[in-house]
Amino acid sequence: MNNHCFKKNKRVSTNTIDGISFVYMEDTKELLELDEVASFIWRQIDGNKMVSEIIANCINCFKGDSNEIETSVSNFFNTLISEKLIKIQENKND
């Protein structure tokens, strides 16, 4: 997964207020608030950055054991995938 780029799913509307990202799912009409770390990751999911780059950015920005951070970020990506909030960017020109 670390070598993949992800993009936000089309069903998602999102923006950030005061550093905190909000995610609105158009089909289910659910609104989610992400915490500070999740918001930091979410904002970087742009179809261009690989997961490994985002993990590196998290290690640079947040204190803690780098292996634990990598695991947490990977888990968060798995959650986003299973909740259909993101999907793999097949072609960067999409």
């Binding site: 089309k10 207020i17 608030e33």
Partner: protein, 354 residues
């Protein structure tokens, strides 16, 4: 890492942080109907270009906007309206469309579905075709709007019927409610026909008769009310007369930014300055945000205060005083007092921060 919330949470947060979280954009004033109660004094403006709207959506993302309402005139009179929607959705902005629905084809509806458009609000003025067409001054418009509602619902897009009540259609409320139920659509009535945006008050003659209005205000489905008052007069220093000045926003087809499409005091133009700069720094917007209940001297001493759903925009437009009494709100308040109900529109006379 995540928490599920209500929409009110984000609008309250936006209010505290002064973020235009929900913005109404008039993409044109052109229209294919000629509704007798329309608030627009002209129908010439074709709106900004697609490229300018793409830049506006960039600015909205920067400013913290999440919800965008696209309206007109009739927005589908623009050949590139689907491209505008596509651009808004590519920016991951949540899109609601206000339309009369008459130009919605199966192909367009399919595209709206693919784009995850949140809601489509369609104006329907009566369950009786002749009355609807008399209001739109367009023969056959009822059938076209009805067809659009049916097609959108079948496609799984949330539809809300919008119906401003006037003397011509006020007696048709029950039929409209039934029609909406049959169509599996929500319906929203409004009980005030406003003057035109340029102050022309000729549309006021269309307002409901006193008896019609009284019946309307009694009906909780038509005019949301409660049987207990919200008494904000306890905190006049902290109470704002309409919180839309903090978290709302409206943009006309020329790019002018207002706090609301009813309160048409311009803070700037997006072709000159960014939306964020206008929203945060416009001196006129800052002045509007400093208005408190204590500044509305007539209101604070008025016996009808707790029955009143005063709109600052209408007070300015129709009575010429942003700080004064709104005659139309006062008339409604007199009737609410007679009936014994209180308005519960929470954005009116809202506390600044909770």
């Amino acid at each position: 890492m995540t928490k599920e919330l209500s929409i009110k949470y984000i609008t309250d947060l936006a209010k505290q942080k002064i973020v235009p979280v929900s913005i109404l954009v008039e993409v044109c004033h052109t229209c294919n109907e000629k509704c007798i109660h329309c608030c627009l004094p002209e129908h010439d403006s074709k709106g900004l270009t697609l490229l300018q709207y793409e830049k506006l959506f960039d600015q909205m993302v920067e400013a913290g906007t999440l919800f965008v309402i696209l309206t007109g005139g009739e927005p589908f009179t623009r050949n590139d309206f689907l491209d505008i929607i596509r651009s808004a959705r590519a920016h991951h902005l949540s899109v609601t469309i206000f339309t009369n629905g008459t130009l919605l084809t199966k192909k367009i509806i399919l595209e709206l579905k693919k784009l995850f458009v949140q809601e489509v609000h369609i104006s329907l003025y009566s369950a009786i075709p002749e009355i609807h067409d008399e209001i739109t001054k367009k023969t056959g418009s009822f059938q076209k709007s009805l067809r659009a509602i049916k097609r959108l619902t079948i496609a799984g897009i949330t539809v809300r019927i919008k119906c401003p009540l006037m003397n011509k259609n006020a007696d048709d409320v029950e039929h409209l409610k039934k029609l909406a139920k049959d169509l599996k659509s929500d319906i929203q009535f409004t009980s005030v026909i406003t003057s035109k945006n340029d102050g022309d008050n000729s549309t006021q003659s269309l307002r409901m008769t006193t008896n019609q209005l009284k019946k309307t205000l009694t009906d909780n489905k038509v005019d949301k009310h409660s049987f207990l008052p919200t008494n904000f007069s306890d905190c006049p220093e902290n109470c704002v007369p309409c919180d839309v000045v903090f978290n709302g926003g409206s943009i006309d087809p020329y790019g002018n930014v207002f706090v609301c499409n009813q309160l048409r005091i311009c803070g700037g133009n997006i072709l000159d300055k960014s939306l964020n700069e206008i929203w945060k720094n416009s001196p006129v917007f800052q002045k509007l945000r400093n208005i408190r209940l204590k500044d509305l001297r007539e209101c604070t001493t008025c016996d009808l205060f707790r029955y009143c759903a005063r709109c600052p925009g209408l007070a300015l437009l129709e009575d010429g005083n942003l700080f004064g009494c709104s005659t139309v709100a006062k008339n409604n308040a007199i009737l609410r007092k007679e009936i014994g109900v209180y308005p519960n529109q929470t954005h009116i006379f809202a506390e600044r921060c909770k």
